[in-house]
């Protein structure tokens, strides 16, 4: 099997995309779980504010999602642009 320049670049960009998305997904997953846990706790303490708490939780989670989306973007760039 001869490995040539272009082939090597493709191989590296595929594995790079896999690692970028794979490792990048760990942090947001755990972080959003923590937000969710605290939101459930807050609803348990004060159920009458459920709507406000849900909204705050979703905003917080959306922000912690951002690094996951960066990973997705970088992975897609590696796959289709580079």
């Amino acid at each position: 099997m001869a490995i040539e320049g272009v082939d090597l670049i493709h191989a590296a960009s595929y594995i790079g995309a896999g690692i970028a998305m794979g490792l990048g997904a760990i942090g947001p997953g755990v972080g959003e779980g923590m937000v969710g846990a605290k939101a459930c706790e807050a609803i348990g303490r004060n159920p009458s504010e459920a709507a406000l708490l849900t909204r705050t939780m979703l905003v917080g989670q959306a922000v912690s999602e951002s690094t996951g989306i960066y990973s997705l973007v970088v992975a897609l760039l590696l796959l289709f642009v580079v």
Partner: protein, 406 residues
Amino acid sequence: MEMDIQILVKLAAYIGGGMAIGFGAIGAALGEGYAASQADMAISENPEKSSDIVRNMLIGQAVAESAAIFALVVAILLLFIAPQDPTIVTAAALLAAGVSMGLGALGSGLGSGFPAGETCTAMVKVQDPKVLSRMTTVMLISQAVCQTPAILAMVIALMLMFVGFGGPDPVKAVALLSAGLCMGFGAIGSGAGSGLPGGAACQGIGRQPEAQGLLTTNMLIGAAVCQTPAIFAMVIALILMFVNLGDVPFNPYWAAFMGAGLSTGLAAIGSGYGGGMAAGASCEGIARNPKTVGVVTTTMLVGQAVAQSPVIFGLLISFILLFKGYGEAFALAPGMALLAAGICMGFGAIGPGIGSGIAATSAVSWVARNEENAGLLMRMMLVAQAVTQSTAIYSMVIALVLLFVI
């Protein structure tokens, strides 16, 4: 460099043996250390109970040791094994056996330390000797359940060592190595996670001895669901070991098999531990308020089910990798795309699995305190878990793009 195949097999067996006991010793040592630290804290609180606490600590540590003992047995076997027909496949099988047993013992050793430690803590306030002995019994049951993933890993390791896998086929060698990695990684989360309900149940019995039956049942249900990811990993490991796809080209099948093992194996870590967190909170909640057992168990099961979804994504990608079918490739890139798909899905599922577990933990424990809002809490938990899954879904999308678009 020309190397004698006999030497290669010996080399693989020795490295495998080292990995088996090297990794295998980590979990048990940490678990036993946790048990001892909790016992010390407990004795300092109530020195009069020291004989009960020390006895319980030693029993608990002895069981937590068992995962490391499995690893020791496999390591010693690997040092003295003399295979009938040394080939590259035998070498890979022996290395994989060590990896499977070593990584597989990590979680169970750590997990079975939790019940031992929590039981010691809870013994401080218990006077009735009947309750004390019941706590030790429940601790032993839960530790036994914790050992399941280590036992699955040992079964795979022994099969790898003593089953013949045919002639010197390099694709088979990679498949066996991947099977070892899959089972080894896959056992970590389930082993560590299934200790959490055990610990919470033992502590709960100390607080509410009359809820003993409810707590033991709930602990067993929760810990059983925790084992699912380890069982998925075993299924993929067995497929990698025994399914014969015929005469397939080395490239890109090596990457497909390695990716299949890593996808389910790594994904199982998050789901296993996440499911355990939910189960632990459920046992704690039932001890706090035994009347809420029905709704708490339901919330726990829903939470655990959602926490399993990342490992199911991992399983899906593994199956696609295994059975999609590929033509022979003459370049590096097609294989790398398959390996990358497995790595992407495997790592990407760890965080969402643990995160869904964290979200479920809090929801379950507040359902026990605030039963009338159970519906609201369940809804909130599901929304939070759904958002948590998003990065696992991104990983799956990238994995599918790598598989089908590239």
